[in-house]
C-alpha cells in the first residue's frame, strides 16, 4: 500500500530515473560526459520554452497548439530576411514577437470566441504558417550573422543572455499557473467550463491570453533556436509541437485541461531531453527517435492513468 502511494506521488521522478539509468547504461556512461550534459540543456532549450506555453494552453481545456513548430520556422525566416536586409537583431526579434502575438490573437479568437476545436484551428495554422515560411525561404537555408542577435540568443559569442530568456519563459508559466489570479481562472475553465462561466470568468479573454502567451514564447523559442544554430532552413521545427505537447502530457498535465503543474512539465521536458540526447549518442536515426518518443508518450500517459484512482475505478 505504501509503495503504491509513493509510486503514485513520484512516478514522474521514478520514470526520469529509470530512463536516465537506461541510457547511462546503454551509452556506456557517455550520457554523463560533460559535453553531453551541456548539450542536454542547450539542444533542448526550445522544449522548455514551448512546453511552458503549451502547458498554459492545455490547462484552459485541453487546447494544444500544433502550429508552434511552423511558427518557429516562419519567425526564423522573417527575422533572417530582415537581418539580410540590414535590420538589426533587436528589430528582427521584435518582428518575431509581433508575429507570435498575431498568431496568438487569431488562434485565441477562433478557439475562445468562435469555439472552434483547437486541433482544427492549429492544424490549419500549422499548414498555413509552414507554407508561408517556405515561400519566404524559397527552399534556401539562411545563415544568421547579425552580431546583436547572436549576442542575445547565440552561444558562439561568449554571451549567455539566452539562458535568461529560457528562465524567463519557465518562470512566467510558473507565475501564471501558481500565483496569478488569471491562473485560477485558467484552471477553472479547464476543470469545469460551466462553473467558470457562472463565476463570471470570460472564456474568450482567458483563451486569447493563453494563446498570446504561447505566441510570445514561440517567438522566444524561435530566437533561441536560430541563435544557437545560426541558420534557418525549410524543415525547421517540424517535431517541436510534438516535443512540447509530449513534455506536458508526460509531465502529468490532464489531456482535458484543468490539472497539472509546471514542476511536472519541467520533468517531462527533461525526460524528453534525455531520450533525445541518449538516442543521438546511440546513433539512432531521426526516424527511430520519432518511433521511440511516441511509444514513451503513450507509456507515460498510460502509467499515469493506472496509478491514478481513475484507472482503477472504471464506473
Amino acid at each position: 500500500m505504501r509503495i503504491r502511494a509513493f509510486m503514485k506521488k513520484n512516478y514522474l521522478l521514478i520514470a526520469l530515473l529509470l530512463v536516465t539509468v537506461f541510457f547511462a547504461v546503454a551509452t556506456k556512461g557517455k550520457l554523463f560526459y560533460s559535453g553531453n550534459v551541456k548539450n542536454l540543456f542547450l539542444q533542448n532549450m526550445y522544449v522548455y520554452i514551448l512546453a511552458s506555453g503549451m502547458f498554459i494552453c492545455i490547462l484552459t481545456g485541453g487546447n494544444t497548439d500544433l502550429s508552434c513548430g511552423s511558427a518557429v520556422c516562419l519567425m526564423g525566416a522573417v527575422a533572417g530576411r530582415l537581418m539580410e536586409n540590414g535590420f538589426n537583431g533587436v528589430t528582427a526579434f521584435m518582428a518575431m514577437l509581433l508575429i507570435g502575438i498575431m498568431i496568438g490573437i487569431i488562434h485565441g479568437y477562433l478557439i475562445g470566441k468562435m469555439e472552434l476545436p483547437s486541433i482544427i484551428v492549429t492544424l490549419a495554422g500549422m499548414s498555413i504558417i509552414r507554407g508561408i515560411a517556405n515561400l519566404l525561404l524559397g527552399g534556401y537555408t539562411l545563415s544568421i550573422t547579425d552580431e546583436v542577435f547572436l549576442r542575445l540568443f547565440g552561444l558562439s559569442k561568449g554571451y549567455y543572455a539566452v539562458f535568461l530568456f529560457v528562465l524567463f519563459s519557465i518562470m512566467a508559466a510558473v507565475y501564471i499557473s501558481e500565483f496569478a489570479p488569471v491562473g485560477k481562472h485558467i484552471y477553472a475553465l479547464g476543470g469545469n467550463g460551466e462553473a467558470a462561466k457562472t463565476s463570471g470568468i470570460n472564456k474568450t479573454f482567458i483563451v486569447m491570453f493563453a494563446y498570446i502567451f504561447m505566441g510570445i514564447l514561440t517567438a522566444i523559442a524561435a530566437a533561441v533556436v536560430c541563435g544557437r544554430t545560426e541558420t534557418v532552413g525549410p524543415g525547421l521545427g517540424e517535431t517541436y509541437a510534438m516535443d512540447a505537447i509530449a513534455a506536458c502530457f508526460i509531465g502529468g498535465t490532464s489531456v482535458s485541461g484543468g490539472k497539472g503543474r509546471m514542476s511536472g512539465v519541467i520533468i517531462g521536458a527533461l525526460l524528453m531531453g534525455i531520450i533525445n540526447q541518449g538516442m543521438s549518442i546511440l546513433g539512432l536515426s531521426v526516424n527511430w527517435q520519432g518511433v521511440i518518443k511516441g511509444v514513451v508518450l503513450v507509456m507515460a500517459v498510460l502509467s499515469g492513468y493506472f496509478l491514478s484512482r481513475k484507472g482503477r475505478k472504471q464506473k
Binding site: F179, Y187, T198, G200, I201, K313, K315
Partner: protein, 511 residues
Amino acid sequence: MNELLVMKDITKDFSGGRALDNVSFSIFKGEIRGLIGENGAGKTTLMNILSGNYPYGTYQGEFFFSGKPCHFVSPKDGEKSGITIIHQELSLVQGMSIADNLFLGNEIGNRFFVDRKKTFEETEKILKLVGLDESPDTLVEELGAGKQQLVEIAKALSKNPELLILDEPTSSLGQEHFEKLSELMMNLKSQGKTMIIISHKLNEIMKVSDRITILRDGKIIDTIDNLDKNADERYLIKGMAGHDISELYPKKTNKVSDEIALKADHYEIESERRKGALSLKDISFVIHKGEVVGLYGLMASGRSKLVKSLFGRSNGFTARGNVEIYGKRVELKTPKEAIEAGIAYVAEDRMKTGLSLERNIRENMTLPGLEKITIRGLLDKAEEKMVARDNVEHFQIKARSYEQDVKELSGGNQQKVMLSQWFYTDPKILILDEPTKGIDVGAKYEIYNIINEYAASGGAVLLISSDMSEIFGLSDRIYVLSEGRITGELDRDEFSADKVMTYILKEDQLS
C-alpha cells in the same frame, strides 16, 4: 415589514413562446420564500432575470432591490448589488481546492498576485459559518455530494449577499442532507439574510419557507402564508398542476404472485478502494413476479452499486454470490448478458448514462433493444419508426414528433423515453434508480402509473428512491440498506418512516 425586492410586470419571451407573463411580486427582508411550480413554469427564467443572467433589456418590466431599480448586464452586477444564486447543478471545479473555488472570479489579493494566506483565513471563517469541518486546501473532488453542496453555499456566502437564491439545492441529495441544509438556512435567517428556495420537494419547501409562491405557465398563481409550516399540500399541488390531483400515488392494482422472479443469495461486492474489504456484504433478497420492491438507503449505502452490479456492471470490483432469475442461476458479467437474461436497468442520471441526448426519440427508443430490429446486420428502419410511434403514443410522450432530439424534451418526457426504451427489451425484471428525480408532479404521477401497470402485467420491479414517500406509495415491500448491508424488511402494512430510520441506525449501532 419592508420589501427587499419588488418585481413589476416582468415579461420574458423566448422564440418558443412566453416564459413569464406580467409577473409581479415582492420579497420581504429576512424571510425565506419558497417558489414552486412544474417544469417550464418559469421559475428558472425568473431567477435568471433576478441574478443578471438575462441582461436588462432582454425582458420587459423592471425590478427594484432595496428600493433601487436594477439594470444588470451580467451576473457580476447582480452579485455586486447583493443577489447571489446557487445553481441547480453543482458548479464547482472538482480539481481545485475549496479555497480556490470559494473565491473563483473574486480572488483575494491584487491584480498580479493571489494572497494565499488571506484566502485561507477567509475560507476558514466561511466554512465555520456553514458548519463544514474541512481544510481550505482540500480538493473538492474528495468531498461527498452533501459536503460539496455546503461548499457551494459557502461560495455564495463569500460574496456576502443580502438575497440568496437556492435553485433545487437538494435535487441530488438525500433526506439526511436536507436536515443540515434547513438548519443552516434557519441560522442564516437569524443573521438577517433573505432567501428564495426553489424545489420540487414540497415537504422541504413547506418545512423551511415563511411564504410560498406558486408559479404556473409563467404566471403567479398565489402566494400563501406558511409561517406556521402548515400550508395545505393539496392546495399547493393543485396550484402547480392547474387541476386537482386527488392522490399523490395511483391505486395499486398489481397482484403479487408466489413465483420468485429475482433472488439474490449472500451476494457480496468487493470494495474498489481497499483490497480484501467488502463494500456490500451478505445481501439476500427476493422479488416476486408482479411485485414492486423498494430499496431504501442513504446516499452512500451502496444501493446504486448493488443494482449496477446486478446489471452486470461489476467491472473494477468483483462480486460473488448466487443470483437466480426465475429459478435459473445466472452469472451476468456485462450489461448485454443482463439484458438477455431479462433485466432492465433504468439509470439514475438520464443525462449522463441514460440517453443519447444529441439523438432523436426514434433512435433512442430502440437503443437497448437494438437486436430486435436488426435483420442480418442491418437496421429495419420501418420497424424502428413503428416502435417509436407506438411508444410515443402509448406513454404519452409530449414531443413534436418522434424525430425530435431528446435533449429538447422536458425531464419528465426524457424519463418516459428512457422507460419505454427499456420496456422494448421485454424485461422480466425492471430496476428503477431514482425514476422521478427532478421532474414535476404531473409527470411523476404518469410514471407511477406506468410502474403500476407494468407490475400488474406480471413484471417485477426493484425501485430505488431517495424520496421515502415515493417508496411507500409504490412498493409492496421494502428492504432497508445501510452501510452495505440489508438491515431490515418491511411489508406494506408496516411502512413508517420511524421504522425505516430505526433499521438504518441499527447498522450504526452494530459497527
